[in-house]
Symmetry: C2
Subunit: 351 residues, 2 copies
Amino acid sequence: MTVAQLIDSIHAPERAGSELVRRHLDSLTKPPGSLGALEDIALRLALIYGDPTPPLASRAIFLLAGDHGVTAQGVSAYPSQVTAEMCRNYARGGAAISAIARSVGARVITADLGVDADLSEVPGLVHAKVRRGTRDLSVEAAMTPGEMTTAMLAGAALVFDAEPLDLAGLGEMGIGNTTAASAITAALTGASVENVVGAGTGIDALGRARKTAAVRRALDRLAGAVDPLTVLAEVGGLEIAGLVGVALAGASIGRAVVTDGFIATAALLVAARLAPASRPYFFASHCSAEPGHRVLLDALGLEPIFRLGLRLGEGTGAALAFPVLDAAAAVLREMATFESAGVSGPTASAR
Amino acid sequence: MTVAQLIDSIHAPERAGSELVRRHLDSLTKPPGSLGALEDIALRLALIYGDPTPPLASRAIFLLAGDHGVTAQGVSAYPSQVTAEMCRNYARGGAAISAIARSVGARVITADLGVDADLSEVPGLVHAKVRRGTRDLSVEAAMTPGEMTTAMLAGAALVFDAEPLDLAGLGEMGIGNTTAASAITAALTGASVENVVGAGTGIDALGRARKTAAVRRALDRLAGAVDPLTVLAEVGGLEIAGLVGVALAGASIGRAVVTDGFIATAALLVAARLAPASRPYFFASHCSAEPGHRVLLDALGLEPIFRLGLRLGEGTGAALAFPVLDAAAAVLREMATFESAGVSGPTASAR
């Protein structure tokens, strides 16, 4: 499969049933609209999965890892080796996403797309390393087009291999990857660098200045290019390219794809720009403490469910959103109507 | 048991372990604080249940129903008979809370505290009717002190009878009860009537004017009284008094109590004013579309997890928050530490 074939395989859900589902939602025993955003989620799920929605039983977080050459610029609070160390932690089930995914009944599919260490002996990881880390995006293209494409298709393959799959969440780990996400965000949305560079895992003011300078140099090299594949190859990351593939593949098999924090959502915007038909399959989970995340959510037209101040990644926010999607689907599937339950509607004077 | 005895039985969780739990959270394999509000929830749960926190397996929504004499003033979009009709719907499992509670693995304990209909033949309801609806709070005291006390203790008894119980959520149903909650909120917080009266189940501008006038007359009669029991008896409701009892009993057995929307949170503020030691057991779930809800959450010092625009009640928001509490507890219970996982900390230069 090529990336072009993957994109061509995506079809937006039929909108035809939309009015019918909306009428059904309004016929349920609650004041119309009183479940707020949960009703919009229910409506979108109904269009994706059909009405009534099935239980979203088989669910996975796709946790992709990669290292970043730009860490040479001192842009992160943690050393690059943490990416590999955390991969071992995921494999043993000791990370935040391990605990949260178990809590919501989701598998974690962890894949090495580009970690700068030999993880070939680590069991429980998918070994899909394209190269040991990207090149320094502040100096040169992070990936060649070929490396990028390989990473995207490796991400897509994870989804196809995970079937049966009802619900997908995006997750990532990569020391330095908020720098890449900042550059993608500024390049694709036109937002200023100052408005998209945050503290990442907790860098100080000097580090943030180095990070801002690195992003600025990357954008200078891009010289206003907005083609999503050009942007992704030049300033992205291997795990980010992999997540673009996960998102596109999720849409291609007609499943809801839930994004996580800043980095995963940068991948989601690339996917939506590449394949606008994929956008209806995408759901936001939270809005993180990273300033660029809000910019991306606005560009995607997605409303977050949570504002918990998360800034971890790994798919933790996506996993937390799964029970909310479950509840929205349950409302549509299981609630009685005013008529079936014999409940009165509004009084005439109040209508 | 008397209300005074119930209040005396409440002891705030020990704060002694707080520093230890915070240090443990910071030793887990994630940047310190990167799980945002989830870490605060985890810390509070650890103090309530002990560290490591147990799974919150046995969970219930306490859904209390009652009618309101003030509906005679045309303050609601729906007729009073809907309260009874919805109780039958709860008993059959067809309501929004029925679907959502099943989705999050919670029981719904539905109790008639004061519905203006004979529900004695409805199976699956707890029959604890104090009287058929309150008196019109815009004209006279909604309840006598004795009726209020009976309702409070009936609510508390629901909790004691539900043991083993790990986690309690508040829910309510009562046509007209946003009027009562508005009056409680204005009386206890000093907020202006305009800032606490909302659209309820969806009333129009004229109805809202009638509602505002009714609340204003009730507050005139209160003449500045801020004693929580006086306020509750004069302008509350039987299901609201019952929820005060649920919240106090939950705190007395040392369990987390999750509030729901505007009305449930009005009950929570009454409970916190009566027994300040109960406050550490209380958690917010969402911030609703009702303007008074934010006022109450601020008065309680609680931060909502969701902003989904819910305005249904029934405990729907509380139930949606249960999986978030599960996840917070799982983080504390199951995550590896930097040391146990062999993961490096921040680089010296970034610290």
